[in-house]
Symmetry: C2
Subunit: 332 residues, 2 copies
Amino acid sequence: LNPHDVVRALLRERADRAPRERGEAYAPANIALCKYWGKRDAGLNLPITSSLSVSLGDLGARTRIEPLDGPDDRFVLNGREAEPNGSAARRVGAFLDRFRGADGPRYFVESESRIPVGAGLASSASGFAALVKALDRLYGWDLPPESLSILARLGSGSACRSVYDGFVVWEAGERADGMDSLARRMDEEWPDLRIGLHIVSSAPKPVGSREGMNRTVETSLLYRVWPERVAADLPRLRDAIRDRDFEALGATAESNALTMHATMMDARPPILYWKPETVGAMERIRALRAAGVAAYYTIDAGPNVKILYEESSENAIREAFPELQIAIPFAQ
Amino acid sequence: LNPHDVVRALLRERADRAPRERGEAYAPANIALCKYWGKRDAGLNLPITSSLSVSLGDLGARTRIEPLDGPDDRFVLNGREAEPNGSAARRVGAFLDRFRGADGPRYFVESESRIPVGAGLASSASGFAALVKALDRLYGWDLPPESLSILARLGSGSACRSVYDGFVVWEAGERADGMDSLARRMDEEWPDLRIGLHIVSSAPKPVGSREGMNRTVETSLLYRVWPERVAADLPRLRDAIRDRDFEALGATAESNALTMHATMMDARPPILYWKPETVGAMERIRALRAAGVAAYYTIDAGPNVKILYEESSENAIREAFPELQIAIPFAQ
């Protein structure tokens, strides 16, 4: 099964609908508390393990799509027209091809992203999730969220989680066609929860996430026990969310991230995404905890540090990290 | 079998000899290129895996021991008398007890160490190796080096490697009494090899090596594949030494150290010995390599960085690390 077959299987007779004038949608970025790290199928972005994330409220992407006359798509990101043959436009075009086929309609796509692009902050996750939702509106498909999640996954694995607000679990699934590899929202709210984004660097990473993931799966011996670690961490996080046990949530998310980075360091050649400031932030967070402030970190495939805390700790966190960009996952 | 039984089994009839006036000996510190990480027996310091090190030439400990009248040992380290009930004096006293029994003779022990104490630079390794050699001379035992290696191991695991100059392999062994767990020198010289010691911090570590090792063995899932990693790295290092293949030596040592730190990060709670300056030094070494300078690092259970290079790169290394303390393992 290729991605185009997956799209057809999900759309069925809807595939024939005519477009409206435009479709517009918003999708939040998300931060994994139990990481997605390793693919069992690169074509369909099927993961080796399940993962769990929290969506970042109003830090995300708003995307508008309109049919366009002419031979080429146009893609405008944050008010700037993307180079037609640049990597961003090519990735969006390839994704649209899965829906329209090679000789289908062209589109004008405009996206506003409130998060730093390419800095390990899952900008592609919110981008592809918003694009799928915008397509769903453009054509009036009115697909169930599970189908949108599968479609978003075809653009970027973690995009399948950005279809939802709140806490989201992406079940790895077992099927070769990935029809059971999709995300669902947990029915839980945590209004006091905050995610601070500590940007150490927005420069392109020396090793992209895809390459880092693949090299880890192929060469790391330590990666072999990663699925077992996830199998222990995921239920622990679910329980912590249900029990509003912030220490359990934070400690599990932090150690899960460290284990993911550990598998990278065991890749050959080893992969290190940390910068000196990354370790400096980790030290500051440990010092905050030693001083009684409940704060934990998680780190994705990059040098930036995401800080988990509750609203009651906001002053202490802001003092230690004055430049912090703060996400409120459950804003009222 | 306890450590005292091991001493008796090795000394046999030699145990009755009368001491000379004094015994004096030198032992170098050593840096593991394939790390010792994890014990199968804490009482006898028996390792789970074999390891390979290089001794640091004239960076080590010179120790003198004399019988003493009176009820208490005296221990002078770098010209300062140690607190009789401090941890250093207690550890030396407990080690001497394995030779003399509880009511045996008291000693005056004086040791000069040319390496920073307690900074993850194996000061205890050279210390115990020098003490065993000094005892051997005090009593005229004239034990073979393999026996000295076993005796030194009873004080500190990695001390069994500091009995020798040059490249040293510590075979893990299989016996419960550890009589086959000892180090041997490789018959190889590498006169151009240099080890730069980049001291990031000499402060006591938040988690001591023993505790870090034990917690990793008990709680890290990733640790389970460590023996497999060692089984691959050790022959690669032996080959690199025989072939004088510096890139293979450095890359293998560097990745082996990263894998050891990876197992720590997967301990629960995770263990992180790195400081921002540690990662900064790692970055600088990678930058040197990118600029064509063959330099690699290894890191023990602490924040300090040991840089491997050859004499021809000395100027570039000194420029990047002006404060470097330089060891010459094979000085003529």
